[in-house]
Amino acid sequence: MDDRVILRVGAKILIPFILLFALYVQFHGDYGPGGGFQAGVIFAAGFILYALVYGLGTAKRALPPQAVYVCAALGVLIYAGVGFVTLGLGGEFLAYNVLAHDPEHGQEYGILFVELGVLITVFGSMVAFFYAFAGRRKIQT
């Protein structure tokens, strides 16, 4: 590990910015290009970079596979949950208008939450894919 100082220092500097950028993409998706999906992938990419540089074991200690797997399922539940909330408030499924007093705010909240669901599932899924492939050992012969 010691012979990759540049890589480690470089990653250390880059990763916070990648994660920050992901958050920007998530919350700026209403005004510019971006949204939950892109943010999720970038978030995952930042984390995968961490795993590549510092080793899979360290990465799994920081973010256990079980947590990643819960994320992947949780996002779907959040998305569908927004739908159930709108049903409960008397609207059609995913009709965000009923979420607030005026439709425009309702749409804003609805989009915020479903994009959050997308972010969580996509982040969880991409890292889960990475763990699954990287954690598989080569066949010993």
Binding site: V70, V76, A80, F84, F93
Partner: protein, 491 residues
């Protein structure tokens, strides 16, 4: 509540899947799967009743009116398909409990049920939607989970079967996407009803026929119509028993439904059959499928593979019904969707019982099983009779309508092929019966009857085979209504 029934039908299983994955207790996951499957059956049945009584149901998701938003549209045809899918889900899930515990390691069971419910969700979602791109999304949900489910089979060839299915399925899905894109570029809409309205107004052009071709080929790949059936025999043979029973009785049915929907609702019968001359392609393919695949089935040593080839032949019957483009023909095809699900479900589930006790479904391992597992083999024989088309079974009803439809158009050679297909079915079913009832059982093997939780679902389907074979008025009524609406006659 009942107003939201269409969306709840799909969304409750969709939410159940992540829950089943999260609880991580095999039996609890199974219970969640069972609950969502039975809910789907209840909802699908309620929808069918509502549609038959009050006409089509529309549900605007997100409250955005079509064509700006995505819309669920339910008419007799897809209510019928929804019921088939939900029914098979509801019957196979209780069956899966022990069958899967035998065939899969324990730590995978929660994920197995998650994938199983996702597959159910996807199939329901395809059948219920009125938006062509939404079809693609749900098609992928069902396909991805089906690939994973098939790969779980105990034999290593399950992996290659799943891979082959994944490649052919993805080609099919991509073709469908191309077709949708071409339709969209010419019309500017993705809503099926809207497309149906705009397409006839377009002047003759070369893009729409190409879109039609790509959609047909793409769906046909998913449908496993001869000669694009290559993925099916391996997939059905090597998948876990419960998965084979479920997928064999639902996935291809939903693909047939998509064909019906695109041919008759979106493009219209006139375009599909008069302009594109679809019957001249479909009918020969269906006839070749019936004859050649029944012949191939006779030469199989593995009973699941035998039944898989028989399924390809049976898909031929359904497509044959469509290719007549008449009310009788469509009625026969739509009826056979349901009837074939009942018979193949029963047959594959009987084989699952054999797998449970014997650990193999090769013909030579079934010596004397008629005595060792009387109920299982009786179910197999009953399903076989239905497959052949003996009177008092549902198979007879399907073939009766099919032959009538052929004779109505004076196509007596076609009717003859249907009969020959039945005779071939006698031969391959007899192969199994002979071994099971006329060979001596190996007394040391100590094989006993399958447990009740496997037998009861199997026999439920067997009873349905006779029930709807003796009194077909309900099923024929729905199928005929669906056919009339698709052809836009009498309404």
């Amino acid at each position: 509540m009942s107003h939201h029934l269409p969306v709840l039908l799909v969304v409750i299983p969709l939410v159940a899947a992540p829950l089943a994955a999260l609880v991580n207790r095999p039996r609890v996951s199974w219970a969640i799967a069972l609950g969502s499957a039975w809910w789907a059956l209840y909802a699908a049945h309620a929808l069918l009743r509502q549609v038959m009584a009050d006409g089509p149901i529309h549900y605007a998701l997100g409250d955005w009116a079509a064509p700006y938003g995505i819309e669920y549209v339910i008419d007799p045809t897809n209510a019928w398909v929804l019921l088939i899918v939900a029914l098979m889900g509801a019957v196979v899930t209780p069956y899966a409990l022990l069958s899967i515990e035998r065939e899969l390691s324990k730590d995978r069971i929660p994920l197995f049920y998650a994938a199983f419910i996702l597959c159910l969700t996807g199939l329901l979602g395809i059948a219920i939607t009125g938006d062509v791109f939404n079809v693609f999304v749900f098609l992928e949900i069902s396909s991805l989970s089906a690939y994973a489910l098939i790969a779980l089979g105990p034999d290593r060839r399950a992996l290659t079967a799943a891979y082959q299915y994944l490649i052919m399925g993805s080609v099919g899905a991509t073709f469908i996407v191309i077709g949708i894109g071409l339709l969209y570029v010419m019309t500017g809409t993705l809503n099926m009803a809207d497309l149906a309205e705009i397409l006839p107004q377009l002047e003759a052009n070369r893009t729409i026929p190409v879109a039609f071709t790509f959609l047909t080929v793409g769906i046909t790949l998913k449908l496993a119509l001869f000669p694009l059936h290559l993925w099916l025999p391996n997939a059905y043979t090597y998948a876990p028993s419960a998965v084979t029973a479920f997928i064999a009785s639902t996935a291809t049915k939903v693909a047939v439904y998509l064909l019906l929907r695109f041919f008759f609702t979106v493009f219209g019968a006139e375009f599909s059959f008069d302009v594109m001359q679809l019957d001249k392609v479909l009918m020969p393919l269906a006839l070749v499928a019936i004859l050649s695949m029944s012949l191939v089935a006779i030469y199989q040593d593995n009973v699941k593979r035998l039944l898989a080839y028989s399924s390809v032949a049976q898909i031929g019957y359904m497509v044959l019904g469509i290719s007549f483009a008449s009310v009788l023909g469509l009625t026969a095809g739509i009826l056979h969707l349901f009837n074939h699900a009942l018979m193949k479900g029963a047959l594959f589930m009987a084989m699952g019982c054999v797998m449970y006790r014997v650990g193999s479904v090769r013909i030579e391992s079934m010596n004397g099983l008629g005595r060792a597992m009387p109920w299982t083999m009786a179910a197999f024989v009953a399903g076989g009779l239905s497959l052949i088309g003996v009177p008092l079974t549902v198979g007879f009803i399907s073939k009766w309508y099919l032959i009538q439809a052929a004779l109505e158009q004076g196509l007596w050679p076609v009717a003859a092929v249907v009969l020959v297909g039945s005779l071939l079915a006698v031969v391959y079913i007899w192969k199994v019966v002979e071994v099971a009832y006329f060979r001596d059982v190996d007394p040391d093997a100590g094989i006993t009857e399958a447990p009740l939780s496997l037998l009861i679902p199997t026999w439920a389907l067997v009873v349905a085979n006779f029930w709807f074979g003796i009194d077909a008025s309900a099923t024929v009524g729905v199928a005929q209504r669906a056919a009339e609406l698709l052809l836009r006659v009498g309404s």
